[in-house]
Symmetry: C2
């Protein structure tokens, strides 16, 4: 049997466009004489639709798309992802389902059993787990069709009490098909292959794995759909971070399997925490080139999809001559084209001479427009307006924040006037410690580096320069500074990033507390200070824009902490 | 048997303070010769602890508190709420548990079965449902101890497949005890009583119901713990919106039951949507005095607890002479005391003459400090700085937003300089339609009115004036205006609030789509326009501060929609 794998990028709620894409793929599959087309999880509406699942009208529209696709599923089988209304009196209103369409009929509807409800996932909020499991007979094959997380319990995952493939095996399937929306993070990039191999080894069946691709607000789906023969041999890996298609031949798969050797593999039991535990291994791990190269691709896709799906083309950002704005700018120019990115230098009396010249040189290298708007007039006007209240009180945090917010306001004014989206340039280390100004440098519609630690930002800069200098060397080598008061350096307020980042990683990605970190040999005062900074600044992160997620634990929807708390 | 109900207000993660409070109550119970003290759900750490449940150190600290409480549970039984680590290999790491402590030992640990995972609740993210159900024998009684949602399925709630009380009944309990953290909203304020009555009628057992009180970031727990005899008679209702204690006597309960008549009641099957469906009934329902009086109490508690639990005492807000800031200011003065609230008038060239005089009169009535900071200088400085870019382009949205952000920046500067928390004054109708400026009037640490529709804000103003004029009549009667350009009125950009609010209620609280609303007789163009406004502005709400929740569906953690979407 010939199976056409369609790895596509959907737009949540954009039923017309998603339908057009799927029908185009069905037509291509027909031209290639495919027996079956496979689309990814919830392909009809895009994943994750979140609370749209609670709107009957949204579900009605999903049904209408399934109906339209059904008209095209004549002589070809089609597997699409769409919610299915629970016909029983028992259980929640919906199932997360894969619909098998053929001969212009709905031949089978498979319900997802394992509903991820952790990190960025909330499936138990919307869906009822499957009540029953049935193999689908089709043209001589017996399809064991499962949805994403369903293959992530091999019987030993403590999150779940059921193993869907175990339920299906008594019905003697001949082929596993899994339709997924499995997101990227650099901590778990190899897990998916391992899970597929483990399933193949356990059940001795070939696997067709169709994943979604594309960025959905903060979550990046990286594609990389796979075909594995019954011996565990990876026959095909589709492209990462872009749409791709492939025609798999099950006859060929079985022929290949005969000569391939079995593959041995081990599956991590808990995917919810990151893997690196040895403290001295963290920094090299965070900055290793493989991870940085993947992060680079994920960020480009994240920027590109945010703009195209929101219907914008033009970006603006503040270019301070520092490393964060330089890396953000370079990524934006690569993602959107330099003609679509405006960099604005906004020096104050505390800005160093090199801040403007470095930023100008950067934009010359990148070929994007650079404008200069000094903030002195605005800053002075604020101080003048506040003179009756501020009186002779000494310069302090308020005055620093006024500078930062003046810049935020200038950028937003340009964005409002000319239709730019403001890209935020804060990094994960700053967001963690609250080293940023609400409505100032924390302003923006999309955070590019909010899931990238400062030490990783430096590595990204080096990576961007891998073919020659794009980001001027001076931007990479000068000591980081917010330049909000004379001679200020980040290290006045924060530990050195080489010390800070591994502690943050332990706390955020691995959820270690003070005692656990001290037991690892870290200094108690340092650790307490850092963890308190992180907890105290939850209120700032709560008002932050979406962050392109690249790690196992990003700030935002995947990390939910009370703002009013004392811990 | 005598049971001491302790309805307390906990601080999430503040283990020392929570422990002190509970021990104080145990001592009081002992003095009153109680046999048993009952605390609410997760009393040890406060509810909801959210992702703190993923930190081993946090769980360790919960265990340490249980251990300390155990030392005081000598001759008296104590029921405390705390997470319990799952000792099995199967299932998630934790149970949401009620610990029964007596004779300085842990005598029993009851696990929650029904884990609410909708609206503001995420329990399935953290907890495994109970595997087993056991009655606790204690001093002649047989206690059927359940946790919150466990009594919300009487066998016909489609959200759940298990009914915990049905599991317990074969063990012949004599008394139901339910420990809860059940939040307030004006749409469901009577449901709790109905559920308790229904349980009592079904199982013919008296019920001791202990609820939490206090505001946790956005969620307001309203107390109102109850004691019901076996006939369904409500014997005692503890206070709402404040801490309270009561000693129930089970002998007395049984004596009372003999003479009381059975109560008939009906339980709504789905608590996830609001109740009012008749379009013409919505506006009277939103503004009826009972609801407004409850909202008033909830907002006062919400403000008070936000400040006390964050460790702040002083509030600041912009006072424009409009109704939203007037109601916010009156509530802040009542919650924190007028000496702790600074109102700032920030007129521009587009402000009406009455805007400042009305605001001044309001502060005279309330007795709080009022200061005036004209924004013309700051606004002009922004336009001057932007002249090279803006050139001769006509006045527009960018210039309006500059005014709003200048005000936001001035308020934040004062907040930073003097340690105020900025109270946000946006209402739910504005937030829904995106009629507000990010980093401008949308700035602030806490939103007081973000879950109160504009028509309800007017009703709140009338309610605040119930004993005499606090909010000047002119503030209530003048047409709403943002005053960002000459002669501007809200009605230039938005439908009249009497038309807008019921449609918003249908969409937000009842999740109705365009087709469903048109079927109710509403104009399609109007409805489409309003729903598009709501959807298009998700990105603004995503950067908004916590909102004190008073309705069945508030913006914020309880409503989760994708930002990048097309629906």
């Amino acid at each position: 049997m010939k199976i056409y794998i369609a790895q596509q990028n959907y737009h949540i709620g954009n039923f017309r466009e998603n339908t057009r894409k799927m029908i185009e793929a069905i037509d291509a599959a027909k031209r290639q004489k495919a027996d079956l087309v496979v689309f990814s999880e919830l392909s009809v509406c895009g994943y994750p639709p979140r609370d749209f699942m609670e709107f009957q009208d949204f579900i009605d529209q999903c049904y209408a798309v399934v109906d339209e696709i059904r008209q095209h599923a004549d002589s070809i089988g089609v597997i699409v992802g769409a919610p299915h209304r629970n016909p029983r009196e028992e259980g929640k209103d919906l199932f997360n389902a894969a619909w098998f369409l053929y001969e212009n009929e709905v031949k089978a509807i498979v319900h997802k059993t394992l509903l991820p409800t952790y990190d960025v996932f909330d499936e138990y909020r919307y869906f009822e787990p499957a009540f029953e499991w049935n193999v689908i007979p089709f043209r001589g094959e017996r399809l064991a069709l499962t949805i994403c997380e369903d293959i992530w319990n091999l019987g030993d995952n403590p999150l779940y009490r059921i193993c869907p493939m175990d339920q299906l095996m008594p019905q003697q399937p001949t082929l596993m098909i899994n339709v997924s929306a499995s997101p990227f993070d650099y901590d778990h990039d190899e897990d998916r292959k391992e899970v597929i191999r483990q399933n193949v080894r356990k059940y001795q069946l070939p696997m067709i794995y169709c994943n979604a691709v594309g960025s959905q607000t903060e979550i990046v789906f990286d594609g990389g759909s796979m075909v594995c023969d019954a011996s565990g041999q990876l026959v095909k890996e589709l492209r990462y971070f872009e749409e791709d298609y492939w025609l798999a031949d099950t006859e060929q798969l079985r022929a290949d399997a005969a000569v391939a050797a079995p593959v041995s593999a081990h599956l991590d039991k808990d995917m919810r925490v990151s893997k690196v535990s040895d403290p001295s291994a963290i920094l090299p791990y965070l900055t290793k080139t493989d991870n940085i190269a993947q992060i680079h691709q994920a960020l480009l896709l994240g920027i590109r999809d945010y703009f195209s799906k929101m219907g914008f083309t033009e970006a603006i950002l503040g270019s301070s001559g520092g490393i964060d704005s330089a890396v953000t700018l370079a990524l934006a120019c690569e993602a959107l084209g330099p003609k679509h990115v405006l960099a604005v230098g906004m020096p104050s009396m505390y800005s160093s001479a090199h801040s403007v010249s470095d930023a100008e040189l950067l934009s010359r290298n990148l070929g994007n427009r650079f404008e200069l708007i000094p903030i002195k007039g605005v800053y002075d006007a604020f101080l003048e307006a506040l003179k009756p209240q501020f009186g002779d009180l000494p310069f302090g945090l308020a005055e620093e924040n006024i500078q930062s917010r003046s810049r935020g306001n200038l950028l937003m004014s340009l964005a409002n006037k000319f239709g730019y989206i403001l890209l935020n340039t804060s990094n994960k280390s700053e967001l963690a410690t609250g080293y940023g100004t609400l409505y100032g440098d924390m302003a923006g519609g999309l955070s590019v580096l909010g899931d990238v630690y400062k030490t990783q930002v430096f590595a990204l800069a080096r990576y961007i320069n891998r073919f020659g200098e794009v980001i001027p060397e001076n931007i990479i080598t000068k000591p980081p500074s917010a330049e909000l008061r004379p001679g200020q350096k980040d290290s006045d307020s924060l530990p050195e990033y080489e010390v800070l980042d591994p502690v943050l990683y332990q706390y955020i990605e691995r959820r270690k507390g003070v005692k656990e970190l001290v037991a690892l040999g870290l200094d108690e005062a340092l650790v307490s200070r850092i963890l308190k900074m992180v907890n105290r600044n939850e209120y700032k992160r709560n008002q932050f824009c979406p962050i392109i997620r690249v790690s196992a634990k990003a700030f935002g929807v995947g990390r939910r902490l009370p703002i009013v708390a004392n811990y």
